[in-house]
């Protein structure tokens, strides 16, 4: 009962246990997030995590792996990603090298053969050698399936990949197996816990959605965000946390091109702590605002109202 997967199953006993466990590794999970992991474990289904950039989608997978003590296998998606980079590839170079080296051995094997047919027959006896697991270069997906004690598989930014690739994922996501024509079907010993993240660059196909649980992570409420900041930025003063979170929440109500998300709040908090700030003031906010806002237009839009927003935030 000491192998990691047993502990994983043991650890995921209830939603509260998940909330607590993730809290332990510095991820403050809402009830719905924890529930999704609970259901995923019980139904053996992947989770499709959606939400705007920086709300902690990737972080969720990292923290879960961390908490469960399982290896994290990460696959970053991009346009043009195909199965040879995601699943497996034959080591062509090695295959060629071996044929070169084995040339002499080939001669030995073939010496006894009287005709071409017989030589071919003899060769056929060895042909499968070159398409065996030794020449297989496992890529993330195959690696995840072959982990003895299970793993956390993170398929990051699935929306950036092509539709064909999405279709190709279906076999893995529903049956936790892959088919390699030359070898056969490889099934996972222990199904990995799969997270797919999406920024909604494009709508995911229905087939994929059907096979996944769906988790939407919204921007957090003030209370939750305060806890997140406190957990992520050690040594931050309570008052400063309240003020900066209030400020960020006011920013989110403005018409901005890119709303600051949790990761930006955390970055900002870190910067403020570095600068030894104990409370917000207009000058400080103006100087550090570029951590929160990533567009020139947003900057100019907010610039005028900084004193007003700061004053409001100071009341917290």
């Amino acid at each position: 009962m000491t192998s990691p997967i047993d502990t994983a199953a043991q650890k995921i006993t209830s939603v509260d246990a998940i909330v607590e466990g993730l809290d332990g590794v510095g991820y403050i999970a809402s009830h719905r997030i924890a529930t999704s992991i609970f259901v995923a474990q019980n139904l053996t289904k992947p989770i499709l995590v959606e939400g705007s950039a920086g709300v902690g989608k990737t972080e969720l997978a990292l923290s879960t792996a961390n908490w469960l003590g399982l290896p994290l296998i990460r696959m970053q998606c991009y346009e043009g990603l195909d199965e040879s980079k995601a699943l497996y590839e034959w080591k062509y170079g090695k295959q060629l090298l071996y044929t070169q080296i084995l040339k002499d051995k080939m001669g030995d094997v073939l010496t006894g053969a009287s005709g071409l047919d017989e030589a071919m027959d003899k060769l056929h006896g060895f042909s499968d050698l070159f398409f065996s697991e030794q020449f297989l270069e496992p890529r993330p997906l195959l690696k995840a399936l072959r982990q003895k004690h299970g793993a956390v598989l993170l398929i990051d930014e699935i929306d950036k990949s092509d539709e064909e690739f999405e279709a190709f994922l279906l076999e893995i996501l529903s049956a936790y197996q892959v088919s390699i024509p030359e070898i056969g079907t490889i099934t996972a010993t222990v199904p990995p816990l799969v997270f797919l993240t999406s920024n909604n660059m494009r709508e995911m196909g229905d087939a994929l959605k059907r096979r996944c649980l769906h988790l939407f992570i919204p921007l957090p409420e003030e209370k939750l965000e305060r806890r997140i900041v406190a957990a992520r930025v050690p040594g931050i003063a309570d008052r400063l946390t309240r003020q900066l979170v209030a400020f960020v929440h006011m920013l989110r109500e403005q018409d901005l091109k890119k709303l600051p998300s949790i990761s930006e709040t955390i970055d900002w908090a870190r910067v403020l702590v570095l600068m030894n700030a104990e409370a917000l003031d207009t000058e400080l906010v103006r100087n550090t605002l570029n951590v929160l806002l990533k567009h020139e237009q947003d900057f100019t839009a907010v610039d005028k109202s900084i004193p007003e927003l700061t004053n409001k935030a100071k009341r917290y």
């Binding site: 939603v15 009830h31 719905r32 529930t35 999704s36 609970f38 259901v39 019980n42 139904l43 289904k45 989770i47 499709l48 959606e50 346009e79 043009g80 195909d82 040879s84 062509y92 170079g93 060629l96 070169q100 092509d162 539709e163 064909e164 494009r202 709508e203 196909g205 229905d206 959605k209 059907r210 096979r211 649980l213 769906h214 988790l215 939407f216």
Partner: protein, 451 residues
């Protein structure tokens, strides 16, 4: 409990959350895993299994709350217990004939709720589709519960002219009224659950086939949703990967060249590829008086198209022509369309001038991979149509598509120069409904991906 879950899934479907058989199985497995006891756990776990987008999550939450409100229903009854009919004052013998009367006067609150639900199941209230059916279902439900018998009894008691009889009749009358209200609330909720969106669907189906110029302003929001859904559908179908690696087809020439360093032994293989170009689309939209009624929707369509196709340049004109790509990009749909119309719309048309403006400013952006789409009626107000510029456009572009809100029989009548323009279009067709639009855009995108 299984029936409850099945009904809940039906309610979800009625709210336009698609639930497939696979998801039905998942939902049952989820419930097996978490149980019915913890309501918020049940809600969260069903939500992650069934709702598949942000919108659906919202709908799900609403539906869940509405579906599981029976407890609140009971609370309300207890709250106005004093107005509810008093118990055990009536002689049991008087009401012995009617089980419903007994239930109302003597049964517990949850008994009544259960009886209501049983009657609802028997009459199939869940099949309700239209608001007008509410009363019908109400009546059927009450009949099922034995209301007629009770009404006959009330009449009989009234006729009996004894003090006890009239008092009982009054009490029963109050109870009947109360039952009526409860039943009404019940059907109203069922309607909300199962049928609120049926009307919406009906309206949407109707709008798709309505002539653009006949669509009323109050349907604008609804239209926006329809058009956006359509644009997204088209975009996901065609925004596929534009570069195919044809696995298995070796590019011998490039492989040999790359492997010269290895003495010609092909260590690195190069596979053949085919590239498909991104569609470049230029849309020129007429927003003048003559197409005033349809202009709003043509712009709406442009807006939705811009949301899903990244390389779209849009222009609008009535007298002059301006580029509106930025407005479509930056503003919300409610702000963008009025702004464009205010800037340039509803003036007398001058196609010649617009084409000249386009020629001067933007003709360079049109090349062999561009599709030019013109939305307009081709009515030039007897100004110079500048057919020469139209020819130039035709020669430069990959294809020119003219979508005209007027039916083809009107082309060439009055000041319409459509027959002359038409010569220089690859496609010229009538487009008066959303359905037409969808078909045409589909065709346009198809031609890109075939080559």
């Amino acid at each position: 409990m299984q029936q409850t879950l099945t009904n809940f899934l039906r309610a979800l479907r009625a709210m336009e959350i698609p639930v497939s058989p696979l998801e039905t199985i998942d939902a049952h497995r989820t419930v097996d895993a978490v149980g019915f006891a913890d309501r918020s756990l049940l809600r969260d776990s069903l939500c992650v299994t069934l709702a598949k987008s942000e919108e659906e999550v919202e709908k799900f939450d609403e539906c869940f709350d509405m579906f599981f409100t029976r407890e609140e229903f009971r609370d309300r009854r207890e709250a106005d217990a004093d107005t509810a009919p008093g118990k055990s004052e009536t002689d049991p013998a008087l009401i012995a004939e009617s089980p419903l009367a007994q239930l109302l006067l003597e049964g517990s609150e949850s008994d009544l709720a259960q009886a209501l639900e049983r009657a609802a199941a028997a009459t199939g209230v869940a099949n309700i589709r239209y608001a007008t059916q509410r009363n019908l279902f109400n009546r059927r439900m009450l009949d099922q519960m034995g209301l007629r018998q009770m009404e006959r009894m009330i009449a009989a008691l009234n006729r009996s002219e004894t003090a006890a009889g009239t008092a009982a009749a009054q009490r029963l009358e109050a109870a009947r009224q109360y039952l009526f209200e409860q039943a009404q609330q019940y059907t109203a909720r069922q309607f909300q659950l199962y049928a609120r969106f049926a009307g919406e669907q009906l309206r949407a189906e109707f709008l798709v086939k309505t002539n653009l110029s006949a669509v009323e302003l109050r349907d604008f929001q609804r239209m926006h949703r329809i058009v956006r859904r359509m644009a997204r559908k088209l975009a996901t179908r065609y925004n596929r990967r534009r570069k195919h690696t044809r696995r298995g087809v070796l590019d011998v020439r490039r492989t040999l060249r790359r492997n010269m360093a290895y003495d010609g032994i092909p260590f690195e293989t190069v596979w053949k590829q085919t590239r498909i170009e991104k569609p470049k689309i230029v849309v020129i939209c007429d927003v003048s008086q003559s197409v005033a009624a349809a202009a709003r929707f043509l712009l709406l369509f442009l807006y939705s198209l811009n949301e899903v196709i990244s390389s779209l340049r849009a222009f609008a004109f009535s007298g002059n022509l301006i580029e509106i790509s930025d407005i479509l990009e930056d503003k919300s749909v409610e702000a963008a369309i009025p702004e464009i119309l205010e800037k340039i719309g509803f003036r007398p048309t001058d196609y010649g001038r617009a084409l000249a403006d386009f020629d001067e400013g933007y003709m360079d952006s049109v090349d062999r991979s561009t599709t030019v789409m013109i939305l307009g009626d081709g009515r030039t107000n007897d100004t110079d149509p500048r057919i020469d510029l139209m020819r130039k456009l035709h020669d430069r572009a990959k294809s020119v598509i003219w979508l005209n809100p007027e039916p083809e029989t009107f082309w060439g009548t009055g000041d319409s120069e459509m027959p002359r323009y038409r010569t220089f279009c690859h496609v010229a067709t009538t487009c008066s409904t959303v359905q037409d639009l969808e078909r045409i855009i589909d065709d346009v995108l198809k031609t890109y991906f075939r080559t």
